[in-house]
C-alpha cells in the first residue's frame, strides 16, 4: 500500500514538474530599425509572462526591410508575430498567403499600430548644405540617402511624405511627380532597408541628408553623438504607423496563439508604451506621451488614410510594378 502511495506521489510530482516546465519560443519578424526596441521589449515581456504564468518565453527577432520580411513570411518564415513598418506589408500576409484574416487590423487598438513615428532629415553636424525643408533636398548637388521603396517600409513613408509635401505646395500630381523625380535623382544608393541606409549615411559617410525614421534619427544621435549629426524637422511630414499582428496560421500550427496575442497586447500596456517611447517611438498612451512631449517635436503630419486614401490605394498607385515610383526611378 505504501509503495502504491509512493508511486502515486512520484507520478503526480513528475506530471506536475512536466506541466510547470514550459518553455515557449516566439519569432517576431520585424522591420529594420526596431532591433533595439524589441530587445528591450522582449526582456520586459519575458519577465511579465513568467510572473503571470510561470512559463519561460524566448522571443527571437528577425529584421530586414519591411516588404522583404512580408515576402519571407509568405514564403514560409514561421513568424508568430509580424511587427512591420506599414499596414500594406501586413495586408500582403492576407493577400498572398492568407496567413492572417482580412480584418487583422481591427483586432488591436489604434488600427493595430501600438506606436507611431514620422520621417525627419538627418544631416551632418553644422548642416553644411543648409537643409531646412523638402525644397532644399531636391536642389542639384545635394546627395540624399533613402532606402528602396520596393523593399523598405520606411522608404515608402519617405516617398509619400515628399509626395504629400509637393502636392500641397505645388498643387498638382504632375508637379508632385516631378518633385519626387528630382528627389530620387539625388539618391546615389538605394539600400534595401532603413538600417542599411543609416549605415550608408553614418558609417560609409555618403550623402548630405538621410531621410530617416524619427526613432532611427534619434538613435543615431544617441549612438554616434550629437556632435556629428543633427536632426532637421521639415515643415510637413507623415504620420508613420507601424502595424503588428499575430500570424494566425503559424501560431495555430505551433500552439503559441495565446502567448503571441499577449505579446502584442503588452505593447499597449504602460510598460510597453514606456519602452516604445524610450526607443524614440511616439507612444499612443496619452500619459506616456505627455511624459515624453519634449522629446518629440510637433509638426504637421499627413496621414495615410486622409491624404492618400489608405494603404491599398497608395500601394497600388505608387509602389506596385509599373507604378509611379517605377515610372520615376526606371525612367
Amino acid at each position: 500500500m505504501k509503495f502504491k502511495i509512493f508511486l502515486t506521489v512520484l507520478l503526480a510530482s513528475a506530471l506536475g514538474a512536466a506541466a510547470s516546465a514550459k518553455t515557449i519560443t516566439l519569432l517576431n519578424v520585424s522591420y529594420d530599425p526596431t532591433r533595439e526596441l524589441y530587445v528591450d521589449f522582449n526582456a520586459a515581456f519575458a519577465k511579465y509572462w513568467k510572473a503571470k504564468t510561470g512559463d519561460d518565453v524566448t522571443v527571437k527577432q528577425s529584421h530586414a526591410g519591411s516588404g522583404a520580411q512580408a515576402r519571407a513570411i509568405n514564403d514560409g518564415l514561421q513568424a508568430d508575430v509580424a511587427t512591420l513598418a506599414l499596414a500594406a506589408d501586413v495586408d500582403a500576409l492576407y493577400n498572398v498567403g492568407k496567413l492572417v484574416p482580412q480584418d487583422w487590423q481591427k483586432r488591436l487598438p489604434n488600427n493595430s499600430a501600438p506606436y507611431t513615428s514620422t520621417i525627419v532629415f538627418l544631416v551632418r553636424k553644422g548642416n553644411p548644405k543648409g537643409i531646412k525643408d523638402w525644397d532644399d533636398i531636391v536642389k542639384p548637388g545635394v546627395t540624399i540617402v533613402t532606402p528602396n521603396p520596393k523593399t523598405s517600409g520606411g522608404a515608402r513613408w519617405n516617398y509619400l511624405a515628399a509626395w504629400g509635401y509637393a502636392l500641397k505646395k505645388y498643387g498638382s500630381e504632375d508637379k508632385a511627380k516631378e518633385f519626387v523625380g528630382k528627389l530620387f535623382k539625388n539618391v546615389p544608393v538605394l539600400d534595401s532597408g532603413a538600417r542599411g541606409s543609416t549605415t550608408t549615411f553614418v558609417q560609409r559617410e555618403i550623402g548630405d541628408v538621410a531621410l530617416s525614421w524619427e526613432n532611427e534619427a534619434f538613435l543615431v544621435l544617441k549612438e554616434y553623438g550629437a556632435d556629428k549629426f543633427e536632426v532637421v524637422v521639415p515643415s510637413l511630414s507623415i504620420l508613420a504607423e507601424p502595424t503588428v499582428t499575430v500570424v494566425d496560421k503559424f501560431v495555430k500550427k505551433k500552439g503559441t496563439e495565446a502567448v503571441a496575442k499577449a505579446y502584442l497586447d503588452y505593447l499597449y500596456s504602460d510598460e510597453g508604451q514606456e519602452i516604445a517611447a524610450r526607443n524614440f517611438y511616439r507612444p499612443r498612451n496619452e500619459t506616456v506621451a505627455a511624459k515624453y512631449v519634449k522629446v518629440f517635436p510637433k509638426l504637421t503630419l499627413l496621414t495615410i488614410d486622409a491624404d492618400f486614401g489608405g494603404w491599398t490605394k497608395a500601394q497600388k498607385t505608387h509602389f506596385t510594378d509599373g507604378g509611379v515610383f517605377d515610372q520615376i526611378y526606371l525612367k
Binding site: V189, G196, R204, E205, I206
Partner: protein, 462 residues
C-alpha cells in the same frame, strides 16, 4: 608734374611686376589646390558610393543565396536542394552492359551473351531534414521492377529507422552498392543470403561511431531471393547485424579501415515452392536447385561473420555464411534441416595509387587522351567456395543434375575512366563437386566441365 622717362617707367613696371608676382602665384596655387581638393572630395564620394553599391549587391546576393534553392549536377547525380539543405531530391542512375563469354563449355550450350545487366533510375530525397526516401526502378531484364522503395526517419545518429523494401542486412558483399563491388558479379556466397525484402529496421552508430548495429523484422526470404512486394504469411525473419570499426577514429593507424562483425537471421518459413530458385556461379549459371516438390517448413537461420579492410590502395573483403533451412520433400514428407555453407576472400589493389574504398574508387584523374591522363586501374582477385549439405541429395535435390560444391577463383581489372564510368574485365573459373550418388557424367551440360567465364562490363553510375 615731372614725367618719368620711358626707361624709368619700364624699370618701375618691371619692379612692380616682380614685387607682385609671389602674391599672384600664391593666389593661383591656392585656387588650384582648392579645385583639386574639391575634385578629390568628389572622387572620394564617388568611390564610397561605388563601394557601398558593391556592398549592397553582395548583401543582396548573400540574402538571395540563403533562400535560393540549390541545383547540383555532378558525378553523384542531379540534386535539387532547398537553401537550408533540409529538403532535397536526388536523381541518380546506373547502367551496366555486360558481355559474357564462356570457354570450353561443351557443345549445345548457348550461354554467351550481351546483357543489359542493370538499368536503374534511382530517386532519393530528404524532407524536413530527418525524413528520407529511396525509390529504385529497374529497367534492365525482361520486366520493369521496383528494386527498392523505402523511407527512413533519422531520429538520432544512434537511431535510424527504415521501412519498406530494401536489402536485408545479412550479406556483406550484398550490402555493398552494385556499382562498387570488386567484381562484375558478387561471389557465390551471396547465394546464401536474402536479397531485398519487406521490413522495418533500426540501425545506428554507437561508441563514437565505432560500433554499428542493425536490427530488423522482415518478411523472410529464401536464399538469394527478393520479395515480390507482398508477404502473405505469418512467418517472419528477425535479422541482426553488428559491425565494429574500433580504429575508425585513430587517424593514420594501420587498422583504421578495418571493420568486422557478424550478422544473422532467425525465422520460420513455410512455402509451397522450393527453398531457393537456385544457386548460381560467378558466370550466373545455375549449378544447384532443389527439386520442385521440396518445400521449406520450419525454422531457418543464417549466421555470417564478415570483415572489410581498407588501407591505402589495398582492399580486402571476406565473409562466411551458413544458411540453415528445414525442408520437406513434399507436404507430408519427413522434415530435415539442411545447412549450406560458403565463404569468400576478395582483394583489390588500385595500381594507380588511389584509395580503395567500399564506396568505390575515385580516380585522381579522368581518362582524357588529349590530356594524357588515364584514370585509375584496380587489379582484383577472389576465391570463393560453396557447399550444399550432403543430406540434400538425393531426396531434396537431384544428385545427377546438381553440383554439391562450387569452388571459384576470379581475377579482374577495373578501369575507372572517371568516378562515374568504369570498364571491368573479369575472368572466373569454377570447379564443381558432386554428391557420391551423382553419375560419372552429370546430367546438366554446364556441370560436365569447369566453368570458364570471361565477363566484361561497361558501367555508368552516377
Amino acid at each position: 608734374m615731372r614725367t618719368l622717362t620711358p626707361a624709368l617707367r619700364s624699370a618701375l613696371v618691371v619692379s612692380f611686376l616682380f614685387a607682385g608676382l609671389p602674391a599672384l602665384r600664391a593666389q593661383s596655387n591656392s585656387s588650384e589646390i582648392q579645385a583639386l581638393r574639391a575634385q578629390i572630395e568628389q572622387l572620394d564620394a564617388k568611390l564610397r558610393i561605388l563601394e557601398r553599391k558593391n556592398e549592397i549587391k553582395e548583401e543582396a546576393a548573400a540574402t538571395a543565396a540563403s533562400t535560393t534553392p540549390k541545383i547540383t549536377i555532378n558525378d553523384k547525380g542531379f540534386t535539387l536542394a532547398s537553401a537550408d539543405g533540409a529538403n532535397s531530391v536526388k536523381i541518380r542512375g546506373l547502367v551496366q552492359l555486360d558481355s559474357r563469354l564462356f570457354f570450353n563449355d561443351g557443345g549445345g550450350v548457348v550461354n554467351n551473351a550481351f546483357i543489359l545487366r542493370r538499368a536503374r533510375l534511382i530517386s532519393e530525397g530528404v524532407f524536413a531534414k530527418n525524413y528520407s526516401f529511396q525509390l529504385v526502378t529497374e529497367f534492365g531484364g525482361s520486366a520493369v521492377t521496383i528494386q527498392d522503395a523505402n523511407f527512413g526517419i533519422n531520429v538520432a545518429p544512434s537511431l535510424q529507422l527504415k521501412f519498406g523494401k530494401f536489402k536485408s542486412p545479412v550479406g556483406l558483399e550484398l550490402l555493398q552498392s552494385d556499382s562498387w563491388t570488386f567484381f562484375n558479379e558478387r561471389s557465390i556466397v551471396t547465394n546464401l543470403v536474402p536479397n531485398r525484402d519487406l521490413g522495418v529496421q533500426a540501425s545506428g552508430d554507437l561508441l563514437n561511431g565505432t560500433l554499428n548495429y542493425t536490427l530488423g523484422i522482415f518478411g523472410g526470404l529464401g536464399d538469394g531471393g527478393s520479395t515480390t512486394n507482398a508477404d502473405f504469411d505469418n512467418e517472419k525473419d528477425a535479422v541482426a547485424r553488428l559491425i565494429a570499426t574500433p580504429f575508425k577514429n585513430d587517424a593514420g593507424a594501420l587498422l583504421q579501415g578495418l571493420s568486422f562483425g557478424v550478422s544473422g537471421s532467425l525465422g520460420r518459413e513455410k512455402t509451397a515452392a522450393g527453398r531457393t530458385a537456385g544457386y548460381r556461379t560467378d558466370g550466373q549459371q545455375t549449378f544447384f536447385s532443389y527439386a520442385a516438390s521440396t518445400i521449406a517448413d520450419g525454422q531457418n537461420w543464417r549466421f555470417s561473420p564478415q570483415f572489410d579492410f581498407r588501407n591505402g590502395s589495398l582492399g580486402l573483403l571476406g565473409e562466411y555464411v551458413v544458411s540453415a533451412v528445414n525442408v520437406r520433400p513434399s507436404a507430408t514428407g519427413l522434415k530435415t534441416e539442411l545447412q549450406n555453407k560458403a565463404w569468400q576472400l576478395a582483394a583489390g589493389y588500385v595500381l594507380t595509387g588511389e584509395s580503395s574504398s567500399y564506396a568505390g574508387v575515385v580516380p585522381s584523374t579522368n581518362f582524357d587522351l588529349a590530356a594524357g591522363t588515364w584514370g585509375a586501374f584496380e587489379a582484383v582477385a577472389r576465391y570463393s567456395d560453396l557447399r550444399v549439405d550432403d543430406n540434400a541429395f538425393p531426396v531434396f535435390a537431384s544428385a545427377a543434375s546438381n553440383a554439391n560444391r562450387a569452388k571459384a577463383i576470379g581475377v579482374g581489372l577495373n578501369w575507372y575512366l572517371a568516378k562515374s564510368v568504369v570498364f571491368k574485365i573479369d575472368y572466373y573459373q569454377t570447379k564443381f563437386g558432386f554428391n557420391v550418388a551423382a553419375p560419372a557424367v552429370p546430367a546438366t551440360q554446364i556441370l560436365r566441365q569447369d566453368e570458364k567465364a570471361f565477363i566484361t562490363r561497361f558501367q555508368l553510375a552516377f
